[in-house]
C-alpha cells in the first residue's frame, strides 16, 4: 500500500509503490477513487485519476489492485450506457441518483440478472480459445455466443443448460490436470487487441443508408474512416445516422467529451426508433459510452479503448460491428492535458509526440477477420472517428495524424452547412479507398454501378470548374450544353446527395434505392441531351414535369419507389416532353 506524495490536477504521484506495474489500476484515498498507473520510478508511481481530485491530501492511501484496466465482457452489454471506465450509468442512476458523485463503484454487468444459457458442445468436447460453447439470447436482435477465452484449451468436463448470472459457472474445463470454471462473463485488458486467426481485405459494403457515403465514398466492413468538420457542420448528426441505420449486427456509440443534451437525445431516440431490417428497437443492437465534456477528462482516454474492446469481443462471435467515436479530438486533448501535467516534451500544438501512434493503436483495431476457434466464422469491426478541428482548419495535428491512418475521409464543409445542404460531406474533398474493392459487391446490386458513380463524380467535378466562370460572367452567358451540365449537377446535389435525417423515408436509403435514384438522374442527362439537340432550351427542360417528378423521388415511400421510377423511365423512353399541363 502506498501513500499520496504529490497532487497536480488529475495526476497524482504516490510513494511506497514498489511492486506495482504500469497500467495497474489503483484505488485512492478514503473515497477509493479510481486511477491507473502510467509511470513508475523507484518507489514512486505516476497515476492518472479517473475522477475529480479536489480535496485529496498528501499521505492518503493508494492501494494497488494488481490488475491492469479490464473491460467486462458478457451478456448485458447491449442496450447499456457506460461512462469512460465502463461503469453502468443506468445502475448509477438507480443507485446514486441524477448526478455523478465520485467514488461510486458499479459493475459493468449486472451481477443479479439470470441469463438462459444453451450449450452447443457436450461434455467431453475438446475446445480451445475462441470456441463457442453455448449461446444466450441477449436481446431480441443479439444472440450472445459464449466463447472459451483466448489462450485457454482443454476438455469440457461438464456443461449444462440453465439460468445463470454472469459470474456463475456454466461449464468446467479440464486443462493439464486442473479444472477451470467458465462463466458467461470474461474480462479482457482494454488496451490490448484481442487475437484472431487472420485478417481479410475489406471488400463488402457497409450499408449506412446515407447515399453520398454508400454510393460515392463507400465504406467497407472492417474499414476505418474519419469525419472531420467544424462546428455546425452536422458531425454528430452524421454519426448518429450511421449508428442508427448501419446494416451491421451491433453498433457501439462512444460519446467522448461531447454534449450531454445530445447524448440524451441519442439515448432517447434509440429507444423509439426501429431497425429497418428487423423492425425491432435500435436499442437492442447498440452499446453506448457517454463520457460527456464535463465528466472527468482522464476517463476520455480510456473510453475509446473500452469501446473498441467491446467491438472486438462481438466481432469474435462472428458479427459485423460498427464503432463510432465522437470525438477523437477531445480524446487527443485529454492526452495533451495529461502529457502537460507530466511535463513531457510536447509535439505540435502541445499535443504529445505519441499522438500519432496512439491514434493508430485505436484505428488499427478495426478490421475484418477470421475469428479464433470453431465453428469457423468471420467478423468485422469498422471504426469511424469524428475529428473536431479548431477553426475548421484541417491542417491541425489531430486531423493530419488521423488522415495518415484512415482509408476513407468524409470531409464536412462549413460552406455547405451555411447553404443548409445536409449532409455537409464535401464531394470534392472526400475520398474512399474502398471504392475499388467494394465495386464487386455493388455490381451484384447493379451492374452499371461503376459507370453511374463515375459519371456523377465527373459531372460534379466539371460543375466546380464551371462555377468559377459563372461567378465572373453569370449563368446566362454560358453555352447551352454547359447549362445542361449545371442542371444535371444541381439535380445530383439536390435530388440525390442532399438527404434529410429527419424525414421518415429519406433518413435511410438502401443501396437499391440509392442506385435507382442516381441512375435515373444520369439517364435524365442522356434524355435531356437528346432534347437539347432538337433545339429545346435548358430552361424549358428544367421546368419540365419529368424533372419535377425526379426531384420528388426522395420522399416516395420504399414500397412505391420502383413503380414511381419505372414510370419516369418509361416516359423518358417515350421520348417526348411536353411543358403543357398534363404532359410528362
Amino acid at each position: 500500500m502506498g501513500k499520496i506524495w504529490r497532487i497536480s490536477g488529475p495526476v497524482i504521484i504516490a510513494e511506497d509503490m514498489r511492486g506495482s506495474q504500469v497500467y495497474e489500476v489503483v484505488e485512492i484515498g478514503e473515497e477509493r477513487l479510481n486511477g491507473e498507473i502510467i509511470g513508475l520510478e523507484q518507489d514512486k508511481a505516476v497515476i492518472q485519476v479517473y475522477e475529480d481530485t479536489v480535496g485529496l491530501t498528501v499521505g492518503e492511501k493508494v492501494i494497488g489492485t494488481g490488475e491492469i484496466l479490464m473491460a467486462e465482457l458478457g451478456p448485458g452489454l447491449v442496450g447499456n450506457i457506460y461512462d469512460g471506465v465502463q461503469r453502468s450509468l443506468v445502475t448509477m442512476k438507480d443507485e446514486v441518483g441524477d448526478f455523478l458523485h465520485r467514488g461510486v463503484r458499479t459493475y459493468a454487468l449486472d451481477r443479479e440478472k439470470k441469463w438462459r444459457f444453451i450449450p452447443v458442445v457436450k461434455a467431453g468436447a475438446k475446445v480451445e480459445g475462441g470456441d463457442i460453447i453455448g449461446t444466450v439470447q441477449e436481446t431480441g436482435l443479439i444472440e450472445h455466443r459464449i466463447m472459451v477465452p483466448p489462450g485457454m484449451s482443454g476438455v469440457i468436463d461438464s456443461i449444462e443448460e440453465g439460468d445463470y448470472t454472469v459470474e456463475e459457472t456454466v461449464a468446467m474445463l479440464g486443462s493439464n490436470g486442473k479444472t477451470i470454471p467458465l462463466a458467461l462473463m470474461q474480462r479482457w485488458p482494454a488496451r490490448k487487441p484481442r487475437p484472431y486467426r487472420r485478417r481479410f481485405d475489406p471488400v463488402d459494403l457497409l450499408v449506412t443508408g446515407t447515399r453520398i457515403i454508400d454510393y460515392l465514398f463507400p465504406l467497407a466492413l472492417g474499414g476505418k474512416a474519419a469525419i472531420p468538420g467544424g462546428f455546425g457542420t452536422g458531425k454528430t448528426v452524421n454519426l448518429q445516422q450511421m449508428a442508427r441505420w448501419s446494416q451491421t449486427q451491433l453498433n457501439i456509440y462512444v460519446g467522448c467529451g461531447e454534449r450531454g443534451n445530445e447524448m440524451a437525445d441519442v439515448l432517447h431516440s434509440f429507444k423509439e426508433l426501429k431497425d429497418p431490417g428487423s423492425g425491432r428497437y435500435l436499442q437492442e443492437k447498440e452499446i453506448f459510452i457517454a463520457n460527456t465534456s464535463n465528466m472527468p477528462v482522464v476517463a476520455r482516454e480510456i473510453s475509446i479503448f473500452i469501446g473498441i474492446t467491446m467491438a472486438e469481443y462481438y466481432r469474435d462471435m462472428g458479427y459485423d460491428i460498427l464503432l463510432v467515436a465522437d470525438s477523437t479530438s477531445r480524446w487527443a486533448e485529454a492526452m495533451r492535458e495529461i502529457g502537460a501535467r507530466l511535463e513531457e516534451t510536447p509535439g505540435e500544438e502541445g499535443f504529445p509526440t505519441y499522438l500519432g501512434s496512439r491514434l493508430s493503436a485505436f484505428y488499427e483495431r478495426s478490421g475484418k477477420v477470421e475469428c479464433l476457434g470453431s465453428p469457423d466464422r468471420v467478423g468485422s469491426a469498422t471504426v469511424i472517428g469524428a475529428v473536431s478541428p479548431p477553426g475548421a482548419d484541417f491542417s491541425e495535428p489531430v486531423t493530419q495524424n488521423t488522415l495518415r491512418i484512415v482509408d476513407a475521409l468524409y470531409s464536412l464543409d462549413v460552406a455547405l452547412a451555411n447553404r443548409r445542404h445536409f449532409p455537409t460531406i464535401n464531394w470534392l474533398q472526400s475520398y474512399s479507398q474502398y471504392a475499388d474493392s467494394v465495386d464487386t459487391w455493388w455490381e451484384k446490386v447493379s451492374p452499371d454501378y461503376t459507370e453511374v458513380r463515375n459519371q456523377a463524380l465527373i459531372t460534379l467535378q466539371k460543375e466546380a470548374e464551371l462555377e468559377e466562370i459563372v461567378r465572373l460572367v453569370g449563368p446566362e452567358a454560358l453555352p447551352e450544353n454547359d447549362k445542361l451540365l449545371l442542371l444535371i449537377a444541381r439535380m445530383i446535389r439536390e435530388d440525390f446527395l442532399m438527404q434529410s435525417a429527419y424525414h421518415p423515408v429519406d433518413t435511410y436509403s438502401d443501396p437499391k434505392r440509392s442506385h435507382l435514384m442516381l441512375s435515373t438522374i444520369i439517364k435524365f442527362n442522356d434524355f435531356a441531351r437528346g432534347l437539347a439537340e432538337t433545339g429545346m432550351m435548358v430552361s424549358e427542360i428544367s421546368a419540365s414535369r419529368i424533372k419535377q417528378r425526379i426531384s420528388r423521388m426522395k420522399d416516395v415511400p420504399n414500397d412505391e419507389i420502383d413503380q414511381y421510377i419505372d414510370s419516369i423511365r418509361q416516359d423518358m423512353a417515350g421520348g417526348a416532353v411536353s411543358l403543357e399541363e398534363g404532359g410528362v
Binding site: 497536480s8 448509477m92 467544424g230 450531454g260 479548431p390
Partner: protein, 467 residues
C-alpha cells in the same frame, strides 16, 4: 467543516513569491484545490487556492496577485474547504460579487447548505432532451433559431454591437412567458464595465424582475481570478433554483471573452504550455464545465438554460473563444456588423446563426404546425434574395428577371420587417409567423415549394389591392 476550524492550520514558511504563485513548505492535511487566506505583513488578507500539493511543497495561486507579499511576515491560513456558495431561497433578488459576497448592502445569506461552485456532472442517462419552446418575443430567434428550455445558446457578438440590448430584451420578454412564479434569472457579469453591469441591473429593476433574479458581478476592475469563479457561482445558484426549487432558470453570462482571457492570464502565470493563441489546451474542457451545466433532468420540474454572450475578437468566428464555444453549445446566435450598419435591430445573421434544438421545440402543440415549413421557406427565400444581391453587384440589375426582382424586394422586406423590430416590441410566435406569411404573399405561389399545401390554404394572406 466546523471541526476543522477548531485548530488553525497556518504557516509562515513561504519560500517563493512569483507572478501570482506562492511556494510554501507543506504542512499536513492540505487538500488539493482548497481555499487559503494569505495575510500580508500590512494586515491585508487575500484569498488563494492550492493548485498543487506535495509532501515537501505546496503551490498556492493568490487571487489578486502577490504584490506586497513579503516572505518574512506574510502568513498562509488553510481553510480546509473548497470554494462554496451558501444557497437558500433568499438569494433571489440579491446581488453578489465574484467571490459570493453580497454587494447590494443587504445582509449575508444565512444557510445550512453550502454547494461546491464546481457543481457535479449530471448523469447522461438522467438527462432529458430539451424540447420546450421559450418565447423570447424576438422574431429572428423565435422564428428561425428557437431557444428551448435546458439549451445553451450563445450570442456571438463583436465589440460595439448591441448584444447587451438583445440579452436585456430576452430577459424582459422571456420572463413574461409562462407562470411567473417558477421563472428565475441568474445573471453573471464577468469582467464587464461598471456601466454594462448597471444597465442589466436597472433593466431588471424596471421590469420588476429583480425579485426573481440573482446577480453575480465581477467588474473590469475586480480581481482577475474572480472572473473564473463568477460564472461558477452563477451556475451554482441556477442549479440550486432549478433542481431544488423547481424553477426554470435562464442564466445570462457576459462576457465569456473576458472569462477566457482570465483563464489564459492565470495559466500563463503558472507557466503552462499554451495552445492556440496562448489559450490553455484545456480551454474546451474548462468552458464545457460551465456550459454543460445547462439541461433538464428527467423527473425534475426545473431547467437550466444558458445564454452566454461573447465578443469575437476582430469579429473572427474561428478565434478559439467562439470556436470552442460553438463546439460545446447547441447552436449560436451570430450578430452581423453589416446588418447593424444598415440600422437593423436586432442585427442577427440568419445564415450563420443556428439552433440545434429547434426541431424539438417547434410544431403543433408547441408553437404552430406550419413553423418548420415557414422556417425553411423563409431561409430559402432570404438566401435566394441574398444570392441575387451578390450577383447584381457583378452583372448589374439589368440582367435580372421580374422574378429575381421580386426576390430582391422580399429579402429587403425580410430584413426590415421580419428580422428588425423594436427593442420593446414583443411578438408572439403567431405574429412572427404572420410577418413571414405576409412576405411570402408577394412570391409566386408555386415557389412556396417547402410549404405543405394545407398550410398555404390556411395561412397565406390574400395579396392586398395596392401591391
Amino acid at each position: 467543516m466546523d471541526s476543522m476550524q477548531l485548530f488553525t492550520r497556518q504557516t509562515k514558511a513561504i519560500s517563493t513569491a512569483r507572478r501570482s504563485l506562492l511556494i510554501i513548505e507543506s504542512i499536513p492535511g492540505i487538500q488539493f484545490s482548497e481555499i487559503v487566506d494569505v495575510e500580508l505583513g500590512t494586515g491585508e488578507v487575500r484569498s488563494g487556492q492550492v493548485i498543487e500539493v506535495g509532501k515537501g511543497t505546496t503551490v498556492v495561486q493568490v487571487f489578486g496577485g502577490v504584490s506586497e507579499v513579503d516572505l518574512l511576515n506574510s502568513k498562509v491560513r488553510y481553510k480546509g474547504e473548497t470554494l462554496k456558495l451558501p444557497v437558500s431561497p433568499d438569494i433571489l433578488g440579491r446581488i453578489f460579487d465574484g467571490s459570493g459576497k453580497p454587494i447590494d448592502g443587504g445582509p449575508p445569506i444565512i444557510s445550512q447548505k453550502y454547494q461546491d461552485i464546481n457543481g457535479v456532472p449530471a448523469n447522461p442517462a438522467s438527462r432529458m432532451p430539451p424540447a420546450e419552446f421559450i418565447e423570447t418575443g424576438i422574431s429572428a430567434i423565435d422564428g428561425l433559431n428557437v431557444l428551448v428550455r435546458g439549451q445553451k445558446l450563445p450570442i456571438f457578438s463583436g465589440s460595439g454591437l448591441p448584444h447587451n440590448k438583445i440579452a436585456a430584451q430576452i430577459i424582459r420578454q422571456a420572463s413574461l412567458k409562462g407562470k411567473s412564479d417558477d421563472f428565475a434569472i441568474v445573471f453573471g457579469a464577468i469582467g464587464v464595465s461598471y456601466d454594462d453591469a448597471a444597465y442589466f441591473i436597472s433593466n431588471l429593476e424596471e421590469t420588476g424582475a429583480l425579485s426573481r433574479a440573482v446577480g453575480f458581478i465581477n467588474t473590469a476592475s475586480s480581481p482577475v481570478i474572480e472572473r473564473l469563479s463568477t460564472p461558477r457561482l452563477a451556475l451554482t445558484a441556477a442549479e440550486y433554483l432549478a433542481w431544488e426549487m423547481d424553477m426554470h432558470v435562464l442564466v445570462i453570462l457576459t462576457d465569456i471573452t473576458n472569462y477566457a482571457d482570465a483563464l489564459r492570464e492565470l495559466a500563463a502565470m503558472r507557466g503552462e504550455i499554451p495552445s492556440r493563441r496562448g489559450y490553455p489546451g484545456y480551454m474546451y474542457t474548462d468552458l464545457a464545465s460551465l456550459y454543460e451545466r445547462a439541461g433538464r433532468i428527467s423527473g425534475r420540474e426545473g431547467s437550466v438554460t444558458i445564454l452566454p454572450i461573447l465578443t469575437m475578437p476582430d469579429d473572427d468566428i474561428t478565434h478559439p473563444i467562439p470556436d470552442l464555444t460553438g463546439y460545446i453549445t447547441e447552436g449560436q446566435i451570430v450578430l452581423s456588423r453589416p446588418l447593424d450598419r444598415k440600422r437593423i435591430y436586432p442585427p442577427i445573421d440568419v445564415f450563420l446563426s443556428l439552433s440545434r434544438m429547434m426541431k424539438e421545440g417547434i410544431g403543433e402543440g408547441k408553437t404552430r404546425e406550419d413553423h418548420n415549413n415557414v422556417f425553411m421557406q423563409s431561409y430559402a427565400m432570404y438566401a435566394e434574395g441574398n444570392y441575387l444581391r451578390e450577383i447584381t453587384t457583378v452583372i448589374g440589375s439589368e440582367a435580372l428577371t421580374e422574378r429575381d426582382k421580386v426576390y430582391l424586394e422580399a429579402a429587403d422586406r425580410f430584413e426590415r420587417e421580419f428580422i428588425a423590430q423594436d427593442e420593446n416590441s414583443r411578438r408572439t410566435v403567431e405574429e412572427t409567423l404572420g410577418v413571414a406569411w405576409d412576405i411570402f404573399s408577394m412570391l409566386p405561389e408555386e415557389d412556396l415549394k417547402l410549404i405543405n399545401e394545407k398550410y398555404i390554404k390556411n395561412y397565406l394572406p390574400e395579396p392586398s389591392e395596392n401591391e
